[in-house]
Every structure is written in C-alpha cells, then in structure tokens.
Subunit: 200 residues, 2 copies
C-alpha cells in the first residue's frame, strides 16, 4: 500500500476507534467515520469490507496501543513499584477522561460478548496479554519476596484485571476516582507478602 | 391501587426488566414491553409517565431482589463460610445463565453512567448496599480473626464487588466460569488472615 493509502486506512481506524469509545460498537456507523474523517465512502470500502471489519481493526489497534501503555507504565526499581506505577497511570488516564467513557475493552465485552465471537476472540486476547504482563511482574515480586508467594502469578494477574475493570465501573458511576483507587490500594495491600500477618 | 392495577404494574416492571437484561436500556422500548406483557398502551401510561420511569422502576425492583439474594446467600456457620456461600451462589447464577447477559447493574452502569444521573444514583445505591452487606460479614470475620484485620471492611467489600463485576465480564467473554472462579478464589485466599505469611 502506498503512503497515502496507509494514511487513509489509519484515519479510518482512528475515526472508528473514537466512535466506539464514545458510544459503543452498535451505535457507531460507517457514516460517523466518513463524517469525522472526510474520507469518501468508496475509499473506505476499498480498505474495509464492512463496518465489523473496520471496528475489529480499530479494536486491534486499540489493543496494541493499550498493551504498549501497560508495558511502558510498569516502571520502577522493584516489582511492587512497577505495579504501583501502572495502577497510578491507569487511575490517571481515567481521571483525565473525567471518568467518562471507561475502558473500551470492558465496554465492548459487555456489548458484544454474547453476540459476535470475532469480538470475543480479539478481546480475550487483549485481556490475556494484559494478565500475562502483570503476571510477569508479580512472578518477579514473588522471587524477591515482596509479593505473597502462595497464589499463582497468572491467578493474581487475572484477579488484578478484574478488580481494575470493576473499579473503573464504580468510578464511572460516582464520577470520582475514589472507588477505583480504594479497590486498587486494597489489591496492593492484599498482594504484598506478610501484609496480613498482624502486628510484628 | 386495586389488585388488578398492582398486577398490571408488576407485569410491566417484569417485562421491562427482562428487556433490559437482554439488550440494555437504550434498545429496550415501550413496545417491547407491551408485546411481551399484552398490556394496552393506555394502561402502561396510566402507571408510568415514560420509558425512563418504567426502566428506573424495573431496576429498582431488580436491586431489591438482588440485595435479598445477597442476604439469603450469605449463609454459613462462620463469616468465611458465609462469604464463600455467596460467591458460590453468584458463580452458580451466571453458570445457569450460560454466562450470557451478565450483571444487569454492571451492564446498566456501563451503558448509562455517562448520560443520565437518575440511573447513576439508583445504581450507586445498589452497589453501596451490596458493599455494605459484604462489609458486615467481613467485619465479623475480622472479629473472629479469620479475615485479615489490616484493611477496613468497607474497602475490602468494595474490592470484592469490583473483582466480582470484573470477573463476570471475563466469564462472559470466555463463556466459562473459570476466570470468575479464579478471581474469586484468589480474593478469598487474599482476604484470609495469615494466608500470605509463608510456610509455618
């Protein structure tokens, strides 16, 4: 594909991604994307067979960007610092959005999981990769003895992702970071070794 | 209101509740409810001013029923047994639904939290009452020393609700109880006192 074609394709993907983030897959239309991007209909259909193909490409791109964000946010000198930094970045992202819009993957799961297996397969892959990235850091923290070692890293990673998604849901409801922050601080307190063993 | 009027009202509420559970608030219409119940349009508008009033009444009723379900499920001889029994009932409910449909309160949160404060207020109340019911049992478990005492009961309850909602999301995606069960087993392991203190 030539440079101009690649640019048009990227614009269409971004246009659909914005639409999905704002109002979900079902309510996003080809016309929304044409209006937002100024691309001609014939050009869109040169790149994408139908709305679902474009929506899946948009979610694929969002997934790649999100996993890059996770990898970049997991920064720090120790595994616990890296997890803390990621959770802080996640809260900050949703704060900047005013706790509006939520998580595009969580939203699309609730919208599409019962109706279209192509979306489920893509979303399952994004969540699995996210769990995997957290599990790596959790395993490192278990090695150093900072994170309790009695729970498999993948199980703790899965639990963390669930707590984050559920926390985002509560934060959207209250338009406040408080429930998300509370859930994540509780997660970190629970995950740290010897945190629950009482007074020394 | 006479018996017949009360029965009609209850039928309308149940019809809207079924519609919301199946396809959300936005896609549920007055006509869906009229078709499902056989009630005449004039009779519906005698009971409810508009679709939102009926939808809010349906969610109110669903909330009351859910909180009864929570209270009834928290059964057992010890606080940990009571929490385990509730989590088991929750997994069982979603298994029976084939991991289709999810949680009507979580779904409606993601659908309506950014657009209509009447829905947010109602949903926030349901989630707060749910957190409160779990927090009571958690506090009792802290008294007996079975649940770690370094985290406030309300914070642990909020975290549990987030983990359940996020776990339901993952279970819907995979059409399997495994991610929900894994998240909840991890929650129980994390919450128990001295679980992370290593070998005795």
């Amino acid at each position: 594909m030539q440079a101009r074609g690649r640019r048009t394709r990227a614009e269409l993907i971004q246009g659909m991604r914005d639409a999905i983030q704002e109002k979900g897959v079902a309510r996003s239309s080809i016309n929304d994307v044409l209006e937002a991007t100024g691309v001609k209909k014939g050009s869109l259909y040169f790149h994408f067979a139908d709305k679902d193909e474009l929506a899946l490409a948009a979610l694929e791109q969002a997934g790649e960007d999100f996993l890059d964000f996770v990898a970049e946010s997991l920064k720090g000198n120790t595994p616990c610092e890296r997890l803390d930094a990621f959770l802080e970045e996640a809260v900050s992202y949703h704060r900047q959005a005013g706790f509006v819009g939520g998580c595009i993957f969580g939203n699309t799961t609730l919208e599409m999981a019962d109706s279209d297996p192509r979306y489920s397969a893509l979303l399952e892959r994004v969540f699995d990769d996210w769990v995997g990235k957290l599990a790596e850091v959790i395993a490192a923290g278990q090695e150093t003895g900072d994170i309790r070692g009695d729970i498999p890293p993948a199980a703790l990673g899965r639990h963390a992702v669930a707590a984050i998604e559920g926390g985002i849901m509560q934060a959207r409801l209250q338009k406040s970071e408080q429930p998300l922050r509370e859930s994540l601080e509780t997660l970190m307190a629970l995950a740290q070794a010897d945190g629950g063993s009482g007074e020394p």
